[in-house]
């Protein structure tokens, strides 16, 4: 089954007097349960593609399908609802809500989804335990290390068991040991729950874990290879 399908996506940004082609006729298909890395140098278009897949940004042309549903023509609210229920996000800068504890950060999305309070609490604790943060659930982000904060962000992304998790440079702010631990966690979650992971990165270690590596340059896919993950 196809988790993500992009057809002939184009996206151009205006930068000063110059038009920058962030996506130049990009077409890809990602199977459900895939563990895919999008690699590109800065400005290569990987974040733009990730944003288009996540419904955060609309392409100028082309089509985006998530689990068979076309999303590029949905309204702002419909795309927000899709992200809320079907897609988990992990960002480079963790981006936790600073005034909420680890557990509350994880619960927050579930509350918006309308999950009953009892279920929310149990699921949040179980997910935090799954990402290795048992006992730290009542800490505020400011009282946690970068790696711990990123794990909270991962817990937040997967707590609702989305079919798709999009991660944008998730290891950029982590030391190598913590980054290894995070990618290992991604892989375990990918295998345990068959969650599709699409990770935008230029971190070679992350790429080495991926089952499929899509390389981009100047908004175009220049390479797409299946590989044996380490």
């Amino acid at each position: 089954m196809t988790a993500v399908r992009c057809v002939d996506l184009c996206k151009t940004y205006r930068q000063g007097d110059e038009n920058i082609k962030a996506l130049d006729h990009v077409s890809i298909e990602i199977d459900a349960g895939g563990f895919v890395c999008l690699s590109a140098p800065s400005g290569g278009g990987k974040t733009t593609l990730l944003n288009a897949i996540g419904g955060l940004d609309k392409p100028d042309s082309g089509e985006v399908y998530i689990a068979g549903q076309r999303i590029d023509n949905l309204s702002k609210g419909e795309r927000a609802n899709l992200r809320l229920r079907q897609i988990g996000f992990v960002f480079q800068a963790f981006n936790l809500i600073p005034v909420l504890t680890a557990r509350e950060n994880v619960e927050f999305v579930m509350q918006v989804q309308g999950v009953p309070a009892d279920d929310r609490g149990k699921k949040a604790l179980a997910t935090l335990e799954e990402v290795g943060l048992a006992g730290l659930e009542d800490r505020l982000p400011a009282d946690m290390s970068g790696g711990q904060q990123q794990r909270v962000a991962v817990a937040r992304a997967i707590v609702s068991r989305p079919a798709l998790v999009l991660a944008d440079e998730p290891t950029a702010n982590l030391d190598s040991k913590t980054a290894d631990g995070l990618i290992e966690l991604f892989r375990v979650l990918n295998e345990r729950h068959s969650t599709t992971f699409v990770i935008a990165t230029h971190d070679q270690r992350v790429m080495s874990y991926a089952k499929r590596l899509i390389s981009m340059l100047d908004g175009r896919i220049v390479d797409d290879i299946e590989q044996n993950a380490t």
């Binding site: 944003n51 996540g54 955060l56 940004d57 702002k76 609210g77 927000a80 609802n81 899709l82 992200r83 809320l84 229920r85 897609i87 996000f89 960002f91 981006n95 809500i97 600073p98 005034v99 909420l100 509350e104 619960e107 927050f108 999305v109 509350q111 918006v112 989804q113 309070a117 937040r156």
Partner: protein
């Protein structure tokens, strides 16, 4: 406590000083509004009481048309038995009959045209402040005695003193010549030149004799225990009027329409000032919430990326404002109530007020009148404007794009 409320609450205390400053502005304005409105309503109460107690009373029984055209022939028959009946049935002594006529009053040296009022001395003291304003001598005593009380200005104009005799000349009810010689037993000083130079009072019994009233008078003045009781008392008085009498009962609003107009004008001007205060507070809230939204643009971008709609974020901002508003309302109303309560017991005065008030037979202090209305109207308006001012920052969120917002520092 639900998570969104917790989030809103904690967001407020990210910048405690800023939040307290905003809540402080609301508290101060709410406290000020509670006190000022309570004081204002207390003063209106006093204004109404003093204005009505001077002469008009809370209501009057008259012949139809007398209010607008005070002709001598428009009488209330058997007026003393009627006022006796009302006092007995209503269990109140704050009821007195009156009659009035225009006459020429003459001393040895001068003559002036004046309004002569025949009053029931025993009960007039309960419905008018004039008996309490006697500066020299005493008020009228016997209902049939040939006595008169006059104003200080008239005494000066007539060049007479206490104990002097005056001659009254006028027309009786039947058109005949009416005349009497009366002795000045008291001189009142109301501080109001018009009253002091143009009104005299004589006993009602004497008036009826001199002006051939045949037991009639012109009006019965009735005071209610408090002004709020007037409407109910008016119904009871109407029910007690003898069958077959063609009489009407006018309340104070009908008798002195200018009084309510003056109060309305004063309310309008003071509420304009209060409006400025409320708008200043609203701008303070607008500033706080706009800053708060702008500095959280990145964070809002994140939560939008997670699937929150701008509408939900707008509710979060409104909830934060609502929490601040409720805190400002409760604390401001509480402080305002305490300050107002203190002054409602001890009274409020400013330098020189006592001397001025004494001249007009007014109390030396104003007492704020604290009611649910005076306690809540100001803070509720502040709260509504506070919420209104948060609409702009909240609506700005609808224009927010998650990708652009996440780029914000």
């Amino acid at each position: 406590m639900i998570l969104v409320f917790r989030l809103a609450w904690r967001n407020l205390w990210r910048h405690p000083r800023r939040t307290w400053l905003t809540i402080g502005a609301m508290m101060f304005s709410n406290m000020l509004l509670v006190f000022m409105i309570s004081l204002q309503f207390g003063m209106y109460g006093l204004m109404i009481d003093n204005s009505l107690q001077a002469f008009t009373g809370h209501m009057q029984i008259q012949a139809p048309g007398y209010k607008d055209d005070q002709r001598m022939r428009q009488t209330v028959a058997d007026i003393v038995p009627l006022s006796d009946l009302l006092r007995r049935e209503l269990g109140s002594d704050d009821i007195a009959a009156r009659a009035s006529a225009f006459a020429l009053v003459s001393s040895d040296e001068r003559s002036y045209g004046i309004a002569v009022f025949g009053v029931e001395p025993e009960f007039e003291v309960n419905v008018s402040t004039i008996p309490g304003l006697i500066g020299e001598g005493r008020y009228l005593g016997d209902n049939a005695a040939t006595e008169i009380v006059i104003g200080a200005a008239l005494a000066r104009n007539l060049r007479v003193k206490l104990g002097a005799e005056l001659t009254l000349l006028g027309s009786g009810l039947d058109g005949s010549f009416a005349a009497a010689v009366v002795t000045i037993v008291g001189i009142f000083d109301s501080g109001l030149a018009e009253i002091d130079r143009s009104i005299v009072e004589i006993p009602l019994g004497l008036f009826q004799d001199v002006f051939y009233m045949r037991g009639a008078g012109h009006l019965v003045v009735i005071n209610a225990p408090v002004i709020d009781d007037v409407a109910e008392l008016q119904i009871r008085v109407n029910a007690l009027l003898p069958a077959g009498h063609d009489l009407v009962v006018h309340d104070w609003d009908a008798l002195q329409p200018g009084l309510k107009q003056a109060i309305r004008a004063d309310i309008s001007s003071s509420f304009f000032m209060y409006g400025i205060l409320v708008i200043l507070v609203a701008f303070s809230v607008l500033n706080t919430q706009l800053m708060s939204v702008l500095e959280r643009t990145h964070e809002f971008g994140i939560v939008m990326a997670l699937g929150l709609t701008p509408g939900r974020l707008a509710w979060l901002v409104l909830l934060e404002t609502a929490i601040m508003g409720v805190l400002g309302l409760l604390l401001g109303a509480l402080l305002g109530a305490l300050v107002t309560y203190y002054f409602s017991i001890n009274g409020f005065a400013y330098p020189g007020m006592a001397e001025m008030a004494a001249k007009f037979n007014l109390p030396a202090r104003f007492f704020p009148q604290i009611t649910v209305l005076t306690l809540l109207i100001g803070p509720i308006v502040v709260y509504l404007f506070t919420m209104l001012s948060a609409l702009y920052p909240a609506l700005r969120l609808h224009r927010l794009h998650p990708v652009a917002a996440m780029r914000a520092v």
